[in-house]
């Protein structure tokens, strides 16, 4: 009976496994081959093995390190800001959302917009001659800053990303906040704990796992940022807004350096895998 069920499970799972192998496995194997090859668009079918040359080129490329630093900084800062603001809103607006649950749908609306559209929208919103923001700044204050200048562009893309994805942190953290059992809060209140201390010593510790997950997801998303920045500024003056994803895209399509692009993507994959492994061990260690 058990054997029959096992066979049935295998048969039912086979199409999905096959599909995943084809869809993910084949490109991955091809990426690894190309990452160790001298290959161009003309030699896609007969790449020549060149060992670690592509990896050496990538590691010696200043742009790769600038792009990595940009992605890391962007990922960490946006994740921190989104989680901090999301946490504040989740707690501060909880009574209001409890009374009017539809508010939550309204608050998470920015997440529905695709990042590329968001970039396009801000290209208009921030344009000095057609955008509403510079228009009102000129009208009320007589001047408007250069939102996309080299000095301000990081702050601008950071703000855009934070505005769009804070609702994600808000959603997760509000759910976590609401999941705290009522009797825990009531017990703290009966013991005379003030709201701020109650939050810090009772509620926040219970929300920490969710906060960690929200930070982690937002960091991954911020680290691999591409669409909105690419639409808004491209790789920026002198490559000032070149994220690692943009670096890989430009190396592949714009420069035709396929091996170099894939070597960079393999390095990115290995680094991400190691970070995930480390994070997993840390979480398991804490749980034990």
């Amino acid at each position: 009976m058990r054997r029959g069920r096992s066979l049935e499970n295998s048969v039912l799972a086979a199409p999905v496994v096959l599909f995943l192998l084809l869809l993910l496995g084949f490109p991955t194997v091809l990426d690894i081959i190309y990452g160790f090859s001298d290959v161009t668009f003309e030699t896609l079918r007969n790449p020549s093995f060149n060992g670690l040359d592509n990896f050496r080129t990538v590691i010696a490329d200043d742009d790769f390190w600038h792009a990595s630093w940009f992605s890391l900084k962007f990922g960490v800062l946006t994740a921190l800001a989104e989680c901090a603001i999301g946490l504040f809103l989740a707690v501060y607006l909880a009574p209001l959302i409890r009374q009017h649950p539809w508010l939550l749908a309204f608050l998470i609306a920015p997440m529905i917009v695709s990042p590329a559209m968001m970039g396009l929208m801000y290209r208009l919103v921030l344009h000095e001659f057609v955008g509403p923001l510079p228009h009102y700044l000129y009208t009320w204050m007589g001047d408007s800053p250069a939102f996309l200048s080299r000095e301000n562009v990081f702050l601008t893309v950071f703000t855009i990303e934070t505005l769009q994805w804070t609702p994600f942190a808000l959603l997760l953290l509000y759910m976590a906040y609401e999941a705290i059992p009522l009797h825990v809060r009531e017990a703290a209140a009966v013991d005379g704990v003030r709201p701020l201390k109650r939050f810090w010593y009772v509620e926040l510790p219970q929300m920490l796992p969710t906060l960690g997950i929200a930070f982690f997801i937002r960091f991954i998303d911020g680290f691999r940022v591409f669409d909105n920045i690419f639409v808004l500024t491209g790789s920026g003056p002198g490559g000032s807004t070149m994220s690692l994803s943009i670096y890989i895209y430009e190396a592949f399509f714009k420069s035709g350096s396929i091996g170099k692009a894939l070597a960079a993507s393999i390095l990115l994959f290995v680094t991400s895998f190691l970070i995930l492994l480390l994070a997993g061990r840390l979480i398991r260690g804490r749980a034990e």
């Binding site: 668009f41 003309e42 896609l44 290209r123 921030l126 344009h127 000095e128 001659f129 057609v130 408007s144 800053p145 250069a146 939102f147 996309l148 200048s149 080299r150 562009v153 808004l232 500024t233 491209g234 790789s235 920026g236 003056p237 002198g238 490559g239 000032s240 430009e250 399509f253 714009k254 420069s255 035709g256």
Partner: protein, 441 residues
């Protein structure tokens, strides 16, 4: 009974498929989507397909990708050896990139008299003709006639103009008719009409420069260094980007950006942003693609400036007046399933009748003066386009090479880095020279 029904359905399906097959055209053409190029190609194709001499199996069908990432998608398709189309779009700056997957073509006997040598050369690579030029792009200088008229008639304004030019450009200059402008006059005019420099200026900015890190912006920029004699390579193939001509041009843009003569966010500006700035009425003059003329001189689309905007070729320099030109065209896929039919269509497209039909339907082919005269009443802009292309058009030495697009990308990155202040002029030119040597070797 059930089997018989299935058989009937099967037969009907086969008949339908066969019918559809015969209705499908056997020459598939991948065109440039959206805009006047698509309308013009559709109109020309209809005329071609209606000809009695064109057999059913040689009729043309059109397909289009989206414009976003068009050339990247085309690159991937061609590299994969696609036979989904017989004829595909190509552009001057990407011929070298695609030549490996395309075959040279032969044009009609009329082609030279219809397009002229300069325009035909925009579709050549390694001395071979890879495409029929369909649309030509070059630069106009757009300027406000009302502002210049007022400046020329005001002695006090002229004195202020001289003071400003002396302060920023090192010599006292006087306003001139735009026909006679050098690039220094362009800069002096831009500074005079800038609020940050001249509080009396009627406009906020004297010009709008497209300085985003984008390859197309480099094409707009190149008309300036070329006027000072710049080229990518000399006859022997040595990279000549670290030249006085490039230095002068790059510095001039930097002076204008630092002085506030172009909008603060110019480092993120491209075609659309520059048009919006000019159309707002807050810019006195700019160098922009010829395609913008339709928008900026249309009273409905640009009510503030349409009536007072005039166009002329970009300013001149010590080595003459120049405008970057590049063409869009159609060429032959090496894996074309119907090579003969495709070649026939391309040959027809290079005839006088086809070029005129394409132009009448909204396209912008670069035509010789004699050919353009035939439709001067309907498309006066094409007379100017053809004239500028043959008189001032240039293609940098190496700008059709396999990695030409990458060279533009490299220059965009390094030059914008200099303008933004993240590196010095020497560093930018040294990095560009080293990168170009690698790309064009």
């Amino acid at each position: 009974m059930k089997n018989r029904s299935l058989l009937r359905f099967g037969m009907a399906g086969l008949v339908l498929m066969a019918g559809a097959q015969s209705a499908w055209a056997d020459v598939t053409v991948l065109g440039w989507p959206g805009g006047p190029e698509e309308s013009a190609l559709r109109a020309a194709t209809d005329i071609y397909n209606a000809q009695e001499s064109v057999t059913e199996q040689n009729k043309v069908d059109l397909i289009f990708f989206s414009r976003d990432g068009f050339f990247d998608k085309l690159q991937a398709d061609l590299a994969a050896g696609t036979d989904a189309f017989d004829v595909n779009l190509l552009a001057t700056y990407s011929i070298g990139r695609y030549a490996a997957y395309m075959d040279p073509i032969s044009l009609s006997g009329e082609a030279e008299s219809v397009f002229g040598d300069t325009v035909l050369s925009t579709m050549q690579f390694d001395g071979k003709q890879y495409g029929v030029p369909t649309d030509l792009s070059l630069h106009f200088m757009y300027y406000r006639t009302d502002l210049l008229q007022a400046l020329m008639n005001d002695e006090a304004a002229k004195a202020r103009y001289a003071e400003i030019s002396e302060e920023y450009l090192g010599k006292a200059m006087e306003p001139k008719n735009p026909d006679d402008w050098t690039w220094e006059d362009f800069a002096a005019n831009a500074l005079y009409f800038t609020k940050a420099v001249n509080s009396e200026s009627p406009t906020r900015y004297g010009t709008v420069l497209q300085m985003k890190n984008l390859l197309f912006n480099m094409m707009v920029f190149h008309s300036l260094p070329r006027a000072y004699g710049a080229d990518w390579m000399d006859e022997s193939g040595n990279i000549t980007v670290d030249s006085e001509a490039y230095r002068t041009a790059l510095q001039l843009f930097k002076v204008l950006l630092d002085a506030g003569a172009t909008p603060k966010d110019s480092l993120s500006y491209e075609y659309a942003e520059a048009n919006a700035a000019y159309a707002s009425g807050q810019v006195a003059a700019m160098v922009q693609w010829n395609a913008a003329a339709a928008e900026l001189t249309d009273a409905e689309k640009s009510p503030t400036v349409a009536a007072v905007t005039s166009t002329i070729a970009p300013p001149t320099g010590p080595e003459g007046r120049f405008t970057h030109i590049h063409g869009l065209g159609l060429g032959l896929n090496r894996n074309a399933p119907n090579r003969e039919g495709a070649q026939m269509f391309l040959e027809w497209l290079s005839t006088r009748d086809a070029a005129l039909a394409y132009a009448k339907a909204g396209g912008a082919p670069g035509l010789t003066a004699e050919t353009a005269a035939a439709i001067a009443d309907e498309r006066a802009d094409l007379v100017q386009l053809g004239d500028y292309a043959s008189s001032y058009g240039f293609v940098m030495n190496g700008a059709t090479a396999e990695k030409a697009l990458s060279v533009y990308e490299l220059q965009a990155k390094e030059f914008t880095g200099y303008w933004a202040g993240s590196q010095s002029l020497d560093e930018a030119l040294a990095a560009t020279k080293a990168g170009m040597a690698e790309l064009l070797k």
